[in-house]
Amino acid sequence: MTDIQAPPETGPDAGGAAPEPREKMVDVFADDKGHTVAKTNPVGVEIARLADLDDRVVALSADMSAVLADLRQRHPERYFEFGIAETNTISAAAGMAASGLRPYVLSMAPFGAIKCAEQLRTDVAYNHLPVRFVARLSGLAMGFFGTSHHAVEDIAIARTLTNLTVVAPADANATIGLLRSTVDHDGPVFYRISEGTSPVYPEPPTFSYGKWVQVRPGRDLTIIGYGLGVGLGLAAAEILAAEGIDAAVLDALYLKPFDSEALLAAARDTGKLLTVEEHNEIGGLGSIVAETLGRNRVPADLDTLALPDVDLEVGVPAALHAHYGLTPDGVAQRARALVGA
């Protein structure tokens, strides 16, 4: 038996200093409508608050430490940096969850959600473990950096994973509300975080599990969105109202479980549905709506505004959104066509 000597000791327990955040948090959630919204990144702020209330809450970062500044300050022992190694981070979180903890994994959507689909499936979802996977910078949020940084397939992947709850908050307050509303859920939860949303909720709502929220009533059509699609739907509804078109807007924050009841009610009430999402047209909200209408034999006129299944352009998010019609005017234009105006 040979005991081979290791090199000198390193690491946090050997007296190494904790890493410094690489970036300052930016107040990207500035409010111009008088709503009370978070002034810093809502994910990090809320996870720290949940940790204040529950000793089981820990956070694992795959090179996302800046977001966790509050937790690192208040509960440094419950922050685990895993570096640029997403697969290890998610499987380790599964091990922590199997040991009684409530781990929140923070990762960039393209690398955490898409690269690690198998870890999410095999280690987290199959085993019903209460891992909270927070996919930041989803959709085209990092579109400036290249096609590698688009995350437009994540809903399609996540919703096929048995046992996984898939949610997408519409704004900063919804992010806080969803994190709070699901804190005691015993299974795994996938949070798809949109960046650059416009305010929808004046304060963090209390959401019911699996239920959508009607954020605007209307008679002529229903615009259904999640993430930044909700704010776009509301802005489009304002434009349409000025033209005499009365659009309802539904926040489809639960992609799984899917609120079929709310969808079918909208189909019956307005008969015309427009889905809006920052996702590939395959496998996202538009697909789920079409499946659900078909399975329930409920007829409706359906249009789906999503990203086309082609090589996507690269650019700053605002330019990309404009290019693909994910703007208030773009949504309003599709709505007009749907109602025949």
Binding site: I4, P12, D13, F80, G83, A92, M96, A98
Partner: protein
């Protein structure tokens, strides 16, 4: 299924402490009993992984009948030592052990291979008591064990987490993410990787595919303490596990267990990859039983 090992406890709350007394002869005999039971289970199911199970039979025997701190009557006891089967395709060798220790009734074994059985070819923690984590996709469980070990340190528990990996399994990139992180977090004897270094993957010699040697040097370079041991020498395995460093201090431990794929049956030792996945004919099965039983007498 024949049980050759007496149940080690009477009541459900009985704790099996670390380092339980067991003679080397008895531990070797139990390893052969695992091989016999594996042959029976695979015979019943019609397909299974013989030679990979045989290479780690002594490791199973020493861990479950000597090393691990357990409460079979309380499988989720928070203070228990954890054992994760990274090379999940050898769960067949664990099913009789869990039944023998009392995690579930021995008649569950008769369901192996059937739809609805809690005992699958790869282990499922949701179905089989005693399984600390599911496996089947190679390369995940060292990461999971890292998470369990970190959780133990955070919650002030002194359990150890053992993760058995195949030597082929360490070709998976995620394993090296876990090795790197565990070296960084310095979990000491809280995290023990056991590499079942039998030298073969499914289709041939492991290092003919991609060289993995020196396993010990590679772990050491990532901040681990590496120990080479004969994986069929139950005395050496006991001694190694008895001498593990304290939980949560210093370098994590890699035990490179040098083993033979197919160990214990001449026909499989001679052609290990031919018996990675297979099914013995009735004549072969009877001959294999006789060869093992002769050694156990």
């Amino acid at each position: 299924m024949t049980t050759v090992v007496e149940r080690p406890f009477d009541s459900d709350s009985r704790e099996l402490e670390r380092g339980r007394p067991a003679s080397e002869a008895e531990l070797s005999r139990r390893a052969d009993w695992i091989r016999l039971a594996t042959i029976e289970l695979i015979d019943q199911a019609g397909l299974g992984h013989y030679s990979s199970t045989f290479s780690c039979a002594e490791i199973f025997s020493v861990l479950y009948y000597h090393t691990l701190r357990l409460r079979p009557g309380q499988p989720d006891w928070p203070e228990r030592d954890r054992f994760l089967l990274g090379k999940g395709h050898v769960a067949t060798g664990l099913w009789p052990v869990y039944a023998d220790l009392g995690y579930y009734p021995a008649d569950w074994l008769a369901t192996f291979g059937q739809i609805g059985s809690p005992l699958n070819d790869h282990p499922n923690m949701r179905l089989a008591p005693g399984v600390d984590f599911s496996s089947g996709s190679l390369g995940h469980n060292l990461s999971v064990g890292l998470g369990m070990s970190l959780a133990g340190r955070l919650t002030g528990r002194d359990y150890r987490t053992f993760v058995l990996t195949g030597d082929g399994e360490i070709q998976e990139g995620q394993v090296w993410e876990a090795i790197m992180a565990a070296g960084h977090y310095r979990l000491g004897g809280g995290l023990v990787a056991i590499v079942d270094a039998n030298g073969f993957s499914g289709h041939g010699p492991t290092s003919d595919a991609i060289n993995i040697e020196s396993v010990a040097d590679r772990f050491t370079a990532f901040g681990w303490q590496a120990i080479e041991v004969d994986g069929h020498d139950v005395g050496a395995l006991c001694e190694t596990f008895d001498a593990l460093p304290p939980v949560g201090e210093g370098r994590p431990v890699c035990v490179v267990a040098r083993t033979r794929k197919g160990r214990g049956l001449a026909m499989m030792e001679e052609a290990p990859q031919a018996w990675h996945l297979g099914h013995l004919t009735p004549e072969q099965r009877d001959g294999a039983r006789a060869e093992i039983e002769a050694r156990m007498r």
